[in-house]
């Protein structure tokens, strides 16, 4: 679901970037006000969950792939504002260091996966929690949240050929209209990827409920139960290489001319993609040149996880210490 570079026009990217500015500002403000220092450090560990979840690609028949995101999990544990901040930073690390998702398209990716998904999922979770068991509510919220984000991404893709074309009618950016982008994106997410998101969310919540039940409540907690899980995810990250195809809407400029989603090969590479902005990432596609793919994947997982944890720890150290009056438990 990561929108690559040059799939959205610069103006579209600017609109979503501007839309996210007040969201990020509010998220920082809310996190500073509501989360104690210890929880901010812990948020970094969970941001790495989101990062690692996005490395596990799942294959779909037809050659496309997708992945879970983990935003709803974070919003259940820390609240939607903290989830927004954590997933935004995970997406930024992915775009800057690993080339997964465009840097210009960062605003749009953050809008889909760091705003719509955690907030939509959190609202649904709160509504369902009184009617269903917590795990069921969490699973449904995660499923719906992911599909909401996928729908928004499909709409963003589908609007490009309507708004931005050249003199001969060829799309300048993403070439497939809404009638193709929405079914193509939603088929995979409504079936396999949404289910994966629900399973990932429920699986992690169940593990934490057994190992560290206090994490499910909004109190102070240590991260001792979290590290073995992160270690296991890092070790298993090369499994994401088993899905050989490219996710829908993440083709390279060289691949896109051969795509047949409109019934015949597209036959051209949109000009905006050929001549657009590009940034050479340090570890493109989570690979290190000269190393085998699994080794590169594990090292990339280590680096991405460590960067997020360290970033949140350093941010937490900048927070002033608050006096503890023993009123940790706030309303969910």
């Amino acid at each position: 679901m990561h929108i690559p570079e040059n799939y959205l026009s610069p103006s579209t990217c600017a609109v979503f970037g501007a839309a996210m500015m007040p969201v990020w500002w509010m998220a920082v403000k809310k996190v500073k006000e509501e989360l104690p220092r210890e929880k901010i450090s812990l948020l970094g560990a969970f941001a790495s969950f989101s990062f690692l979840a996005m490395m596990f690609n799942l294959p779909l028949p037809g050659g496309t792939t997708g992945h879970a995101v983990g935003s709803v999990l974070l919003s259940i544990l820390f609240g939607p504002w903290a989830a927004c901040l954590a997933v935004s930073l995970a997406l930024f690390v992915q775009a800057l260091f690993f080339g997964d998702g465009g840097l210009l398209a960062f605003g749009a990716n953050a809008f889909n996966m760091a705003f719509l998904m955690p907030f939509g999922g959190a609202l649904l979770y709160r509504a369902l929690r009184s009617l269903l068991p917590p795990m069921a509510a969490a699973g449904i919220a995660a499923y719906v949240g992911l599909n909401l984000a996928a729908l928004m991404a499909a709409i963003e893709f589908g609007l490009q050929p309507l708004l931005f074309t050249d003199g001969v009618g060829h799309a300048l950016y993403a070439p497939y209209p809404l009638s193709i982008s929405i079914p193509a994106m939603m088929v995979g997410h409504l079936t396999l990827f949404g289910l994966a998101e629900a399973l990932f969310t429920c699986g992690v919540l169940a593990f934490l409920a057994r190992v560290q039940p206090e994490l499910s409540e909004k109190g102070t907690a240590s991260s001792r139960g979290v590290w073995p899980l992160i270690g296991a995810l890092i070790a298993l990250s090369p499994l994401g290489l088993l899905a050989a195809g490219t996710a829908w809407g993440e083709w390279s400029p060289e691949e896109i001319a051969e795509q047949t989603f409109s019934g015949a090969p597209l036959g051209y590479t949109p000009t905006g993609m050929e001549a657009g902005f590009s940034l050479e990432a340090l570890f493109p596609d989570y690979a290190l040149e000269g190393l085998s793919e699994p080794t590169g994947y594990v090292l990339s997982a280590c680096i991405g996880t460590a960067l997020l944890v360290l970033l949140f720890k350093v941010l937490s150290s900048l927070q002033p210490k608050r006096a503890d009056y023993g009123t940790h438990r706030s309303e969910a």
């Binding site: 220092r37 450090s41 340090l282 570890f283 290190l288 040149e289 000269g290 190393l291 090292l299 280590c302 680096i303 996880t305 460590a306 960067l307 944890v309 360290l310 720890k313 350093v314 937490s316 150290s317 900048l318």
Partner: protein, 265 residues
């Protein structure tokens, strides 16, 4: 009713003036507080790896870092380092990163002419290597207390004289910093209303030197009385812990990778 003495009856016409040495005092106090962070960072922590395994890996990784000419291998070396830094407390991380980045930035300034004149490739490795080396040294210093470090050195059969010098230096850094901080604070308090000028600094340094000498003589006599003969016996008991296996495997992996990439057979 008690009569006040004459000096207490005099009106106060004190006005604090901008003193030239205020900046000097602040700087010196800042330096002493930095030196005292050595003792703060070296509190014993519960660590799953032993100081000896940590020291062996530190030496091996540092050697690999210094010898490599490939940027990607150097970036790959950052992976275990960053992961290990994640386990330090947040307050320590801020200090470690700040000092390491400042020095790396200074080393970048040194190589900047080479970078801008077209030699960006290998020149850029130098600040990256500097940053890596500083981070790994600060990490090691944060994980183990100074006596654990000297114990690890003894196990490696480093000459006792070198260990003694290092041991003494580390102990005295903290003692000196405390004494200097106390003297500076006392001098500052006594300087209110009086402009002592820069000669205060020299008398402070002289006093510090004399006190260090006296302290060191007393320390040496005490050590001799307790049977210290100049040698550091190897600590008893096993020095290995469970986490050493993983650390040494990671070290071997990187050594293998280095030889595979830098010196293929």
């Amino acid at each position: 009713m008690t009569n006040l003495p004459d000096w207490a009856m005099r009106p106060e016409n004190y006005k604090a003036t901008a003193k030239r040495e205020r900046y000097l005092f602040r700087s010196l106090l800042h330096i002493t507080s930095l030196l005292r962070t050595f003792s703060a960072l070296r509190e014993a922590r519960r660590c799953p790896i032993s100081p000896l395994a940590g020291l062996i890996s530190l030496l091996a990784f540092t050697l690999l870092c210094c010898l490599t000419h490939r940027a990607l291998f150097l970036l790959a070396l950052y992976a275990p380092l960053l992961l290990a830094l994640c386990f330090l407390p947040a307050e320590a991380l801020g200090r470690i990163f700040l000092s390491a980045f400042l020095v790396a930035a200074a080393s970048f300034l040194l190589v900047a002419p080479a970078v801008f004149l077209g030699g960006a490739g290998l020149s850029l490795l130098i600040p990256l290597k500097t940053l890596w080396t500083l981070l790994v040294l600060r990490l090691y210093g944060s994980l183990f207390s100074w006596n654990a470090i000297t114990g690890a050195l003894a196990r490696l059969r480093i000459p006792g004289l070198l260990i003694f010098l290092l041991d003494t230096m580390l102990r005295n850094l903290d003692i000196l910093a405390r004494q200097a901080g106390n003297q500076l604070s006392a001098l500052r308090l006594r300087s209110i209303g009086a402009d002592r000028g820069g000669r205060s600094l020299f008398s402070l340094l002289g006093t510090l030197f004399l006190r260090t000498q006296a302290t060191q003589e007393a320390t040496q006599e005490a050590m001799v009385c307790r049977g210290f003969s100049g040698t550091y016996p190897r600590p008893l008991g096993s020095s290995w812990k469970r986490g050493d296996v993983l650390l040494l495997l990671a070290t071997l992996f990187y050594v293998f990778l280095f030889f595979q990439k830098e010196m293929p057979l």
